[in-house]
């Protein structure tokens, strides 16, 4: 039994087939990258797994349980955390309060939630900004806050949608470091959509490639960059030669 099994997912937006018969599995403890050109259906696939969309057909099984069509709050309670490609810049709650909301997922007590939130903030080196509002922070920190509040829900599978986009090389380095640490010490399985090839190739153990809603390749990063279909669809000859 696999940790996460995705079978024949189809999502049709009225003629536009964003996911066409996508299947794959993820094992516990893995770091899996999901790549593909813009509009390939990566975010849609995430949404079908965590329940923002109900797939037209297909099945999602998480730790032996059929979670197809479950609501996002329910899949979160099952242990799946996800971050958003575009994080809404909000003004109503401080960083600490945001992360506390995540922690409230596992407790009813405010002091417990606060303690847990502070722990996560401390772990991500965010304690310095805990009293700021999201809109007062630079984008790299905003993304980290998005990650922190998701981590506070104690996910065992973490799905990250372009967590490194908009960051500079140094910041990307930090994120890579952080993801490896979460995977190593916290034993969190990672499933990440990424645009920045260097990052995906560096951090992922296995890569899945989507193009026009279909899975066109899956394999080790080193094999993926040499895969004919992938090069045609996405990478371009130059990149492959450069490696």
């Amino acid at each position: 039994m696999s940790f996460l099994t995705v079978e024949n997912i189809v999502k049709d937006f009225g003629g536009l087939v964003a996911n066409n018969n996508v299947s794959f599995t993820i094992e516990e403890g893995e770091i899996i990258g999901l790549i593909g050109p813009n509009g390939a259906g990566k975010t849609t696939l995430f949404n079908c797994i965590v329940g923002y969309h109900r797939p037209d057909s297909g099945k999602v099984t998480f730790r032996g349980k059929d979670i197809t069509g479950m609501k996002p709050f329910a899949t979160n309670r099952e242990g799946i955390g996800r971050t958003f490609q575009i994080m809404k810049v909000t003004t109503g709650m401080t960083v600490l309060e945001n992360v506390m909301v995540g922690a409230f997922c596992r407790t009813n007590d405010r002091n417990t939630a606060r303690g847990k939130a502070l722990e996560v903030l401390n772990d991500l080196a965010l304690d310095g900004v805990k009293d700021y509002y999201i809109n007062e922070l630079p984008i790299a920190i905003q993304r980290k806050v998005g990650l922190a509040r998701t981590l506070a829900t104690k996910p065992v599978l973490l799905m990250l949608d372009e967590v490194a986009s908009g960051l500079n090389p140094k910041e990307i380095e930090d994120v890579v470091e952080l993801l490896r640490r979460l995977n190593n010490t916290k034993k969190i399985t990672l499933f990440l959509i990424e645009h920045i090839m260097e990052m995906v190739m560096k951090v992922s153990q296995r890569v899945i490639v989507l193009d026009y809603g279909e899975k066109i390749a899956e394999g080790l990063p080193a094999d993926i960059v040499r895969n004919e279909n992938v090069i045609k669809a996405y990478l371009g000859e130059k990149y492959a030669q450069g490696l």
Binding site: T83, F84, V101, A113, R149
Partner: protein, 332 residues
């Protein structure tokens, strides 16, 4: 125990706010002896009553960010339960008022369940509609007095069983007690799990859902808390006015006033509804007595309210309290 501590703990407010609360409380306590006359006392009772309504609205409307414009139906439910139980079966206030709360909660779950399938403007309009339908039913239902309403039998002596008094001072202290229960409850509520979750829902529904929050269920819970608050106020109105009818308890204008007071004072703030009521109740009285006598001018008060809403939402969506906080931030 922990909850009670949270309810009575104002320590996360600034010193100025805490001193303000103490001065305000002392003022409320000594007010009946200031010799201001009966008109001022009536206004004060209205002020406390509307503060209570506004605090209730603030749960779903302020913290939850859902534009709710149908609170009057719960005023009606609270008021009619108290009045009818007394008239029909001589049931004491202390039983009929909790019964009114229970009916309001049950009703709020029943209509909240479909209502919260809707979002934004659709939700706002649907809340107005449900309230109007209930008013229409009561307007035509002869068993409950139809449009003529219900008159409560008058008791000559102070009566703590049916909560009937000749002197307004009794009512004043009674509504003041309810006001403080409401205030302490809200002080707990804003720090509760539900309070945090509602604020997240208001900020970003998708993110809230990804953090394990059952959005619809949270909204329904907050909506029923709001309804319970308002039903208490409705019960009070029945014994205070000794006469209720659909027009005075379930009119759309009442729903709008409740929401407007909280928004004007400052939605999602503990003080907002109180500030809003302190501002709008006297204004309402003034406009009522000034314009009431002049033919053709009824309705102008609503134009003034509409203008206020527009000014607030354009200048500072967080109301008067938002403006105060802005200045305090600048001062720092």
């Amino acid at each position: 125990m922990e909850k009670l501590k949270d309810a009575l703990d104002f320590s996360d407010f600034s010193k100025a706010e805490r001193i303000g609360l103490i001065i305000f409380s002392v003022f409320l306590l000594v007010f009946p002896w200031l010799g201001t006359g009966s008109f001022a006392k009536t206004v004060m009772i209205q002020f406390l009553l509307f503060s209570l309504f506004g605090m209730g609205w603030n749960t779903i409307g302020g913290y939850g960010g859902q534009v709710e414009l149908g609170k009057a139906q719960y005023v009606g439910i609270g008021a009619y339960t108290v009045a009818l139980m007394m008239v029909w079966w001589k049931i004491p206030f202390w039983i009929s008022m909790p019964a009114g709360i229970l009916i309001a909660i049950g009703y709020s779950f029943a209509i909240g369940y479909p209502l919260f399938r809707l979002k934004g403007h659709y939700f706002a309009i649907a809340t107005i509609c449900t309230s109007l339908v209930l008013k229409d039913i009561f307007d035509n239902w002869s068993l409950v007095g139809a449009a003529k309403g219900v008159e409560l039998p008058i008791h000559e002596h102070p009566d703590f069983v049916y909560m009937q008094f000749k002197s307004d001072t009794y009512y004043y202290f009674f509504i003041m007690a309810l006001f403080y229960i409401g205030l302490f409850y809200m002080n707990w509520f804003r720090k509760s799990k539900l309070g945090y979750q509602l604020r997240m829902i208001k900020d970003d529904e998708d993110a809230a859902e990804s953090l394990g929050i059952d959005i619809r269920w949270c909204k329904i819970k907050a909506y029923s808390i709001a309804s319970a608050f308002v039903a208490v106020g409705g019960g009070f109105m029945a014994v205070y006015n000794l006469y209720i009818d659909p027009a005075s308890t379930m009119e759309l204008s009442l729903s709008i006033k409740i929401a407007l007071m909280a928004m004007l004072g400052g939605a999602a703030s503990l003080w907002g509804p109180i500030i809003g009521a302190a501002f709008l109740v006297p204004l309402d009285r003034f406009l009522g007595s000034w314009l009431g006598g002049q033919k053709g001018l009824t309705g102008i008060d609503f134009m003034i309210y509409a203008a206020l809403i527009m000014i607030v939402s354009a200048y500072q969506p967080r109301g008067i309290w938002g403006i105060i906080e802005q200045f305090r931030k600048r001062g720092r």
